[in-house]
């Protein structure tokens, strides 16, 4: 299926160890995530969010490397160099939106990458439309509901078209229609065959609807190597 079309793109963790205080919170010998959709499953504290942070270059690595297509993305102190981090987009479990309008919030990543205003508009507008945010475009981001904020945070990441898209518990607060829209978008992107999408989620039904490979985590370790559940 979509994942089978995966050609070179591959996000890999090699011997990654992350320590908080005295405690090792993540220890991954080898995790390869090919183009397509992956869901990280596991109880709270299993290390799902930490894998995402490591892949995004936002947490110090005590050991090991994060690689994208064989080149190093992150291998030491956070934050990783900015040009490496720009190949990745991450949506946090509990996103923070900078003050400003919804449109400004969604454009932030593009602005940081010095994308011109014309192009920003042509990339942002369809996404706002599709996520049902268009009527909120000039609303202050501080005045949004939980679900709206979640969608804005998703739009912030999706608009970047990065090679790697990391989503932490993204379906919380989303109504069914928005959830379906998100699933459609993600499946389309995965269909392109060059984007690695990694989702940390409690929602096992989500993995099924996304036709994703599932990696179970517990106690900071990866238990299996990407099973696809029917």
């Amino acid at each position: 299926m979509q994942q089978a079309a995966g050609n070179g793109t591959m996000l890999s963790l090699r011997d990654v160890r992350i320590v908080r205080g005295e405690r090792t919170v993540l220890s991954v010998e080898k995790l390869d995530l090919a183009a397509g959709i992956h869901v990280l499953e596991g109880p709270n504290g299993a290390g799902k969010s930490t894998v995402l942070l490591a892949a995004a270059g936002l947490v110090d690595l005590a050991a090991g490397q994060v690689l994208l297509d064989g080149t190093v993305l992150h291998d030491g102190m956070a934050p990783a160099p900015v040009e490496r981090r720009r190949r990745i987009a991450l949506v946090f479990q509990d996103p923070y939106l900078m003050s400003g309008t919804v449109r400004e919030a969604v454009e932030i990543g593009l602005k940081i990458r010095r994308v011109g205003s014309q192009e920003r508009r042509t990339r942002v507008d369809p996404l706002l439309e599709r996520l049902g945010l268009k009527h909120l475009a000039s609303k202050r981001s501080t005045k949004l509901s939980g679900g709206e904020r979640r969608k804005v945070a998703l739009a912030q990441a999706l608009v970047l078209d990065s090679q790697v898209l990391l989503l932490d518990e993204v379906t919380v607060n989303l109504d069914e229609a928005s959830k379906q829209t998100l699933i459609d978008i993600l499946r389309e992107r995965a269909g392109g065959g060059h984007q690695v999408i990694v989702i940390a989620s409690h929602d096992s039904e989500l993995a099924h609807r996304l036709d994703a490979r599932v990696h179970r985590l517990a106690g900071g370790r990866v238990l299996d190597d990407g099973v696809r559940r029917p």
């Binding site: 995004a56 936002l58 934050p79 900015v82 981090r85 720009r86 990745i88 987009a89 991450l90 949506v91 946090f92 509990d94 996103p95 923070y96 939106l97 900078m98 003050s99 932030i108 990543g109 940081i112 990458r113 501080t142 904020r149 912030q156 990441a157 970047l160």
Partner: protein
Amino acid sequence: MILEGLRRAFEMLLSFDPQVWGPVRVSLEVSCVATLLAAVAAIPLGVVIGLSRFAGRRIIVSVLNTMLALPTVLVGLLVYGLISRSGPLGAWDILYTPTAMIIGQTILAMPMICAFTVASVERSDPRIRLSMLSLGAGRIKASVAVALENRAALAAALAAGFGRVFSEVGVAMMLGGNIRGYTRNITTGIAFETGKGEFALGVALGTVLLVVALAVNFAVGYWNYRGGRRQ
């Protein structure tokens, strides 16, 4: 005497007596410029200290907090020694000028603004910086975003710095020299007029001092109240 002083003070204020408004102008100009100069250095420094974790950081923060109580006359003495014509920077020829007062007050305001900035950045939402980094921002841009998201708290830091220099007398007296129409500001004016037994003028100047200090704090307080947002 106080009541009579008050009555005459208000007459002077309302008739735009230059004896009152001259020092007020000097105070506002010098203290505003000093506060802004201090802010240009102290806010970035405070953001960096507030966001980073390095050995010796605690020491720097406690030194900063100690410097909040830096006696104004000590700063005055130090700068005086530097800019006196027989001092190392004597060639600048700036003793007893508003520039000298600005230098002294900038030094006074910096630890205040810096310490407040550190405190507000430490208390600020850690997600701000992480969000910016995850969207591809460099460290500097992420830090600037932290500052901007905390702008109400930083305004309070500025107000604290301004309050410190606007109401101080030591630096203004030692480096400004209380020259009429040139470096006499509100506080040295009050000291001088009391020395002359002119209570009315002292009261008029004191009233302006209070009103400005209150207005600044009220404005900042209002902004912080309005900006008190939670995500």
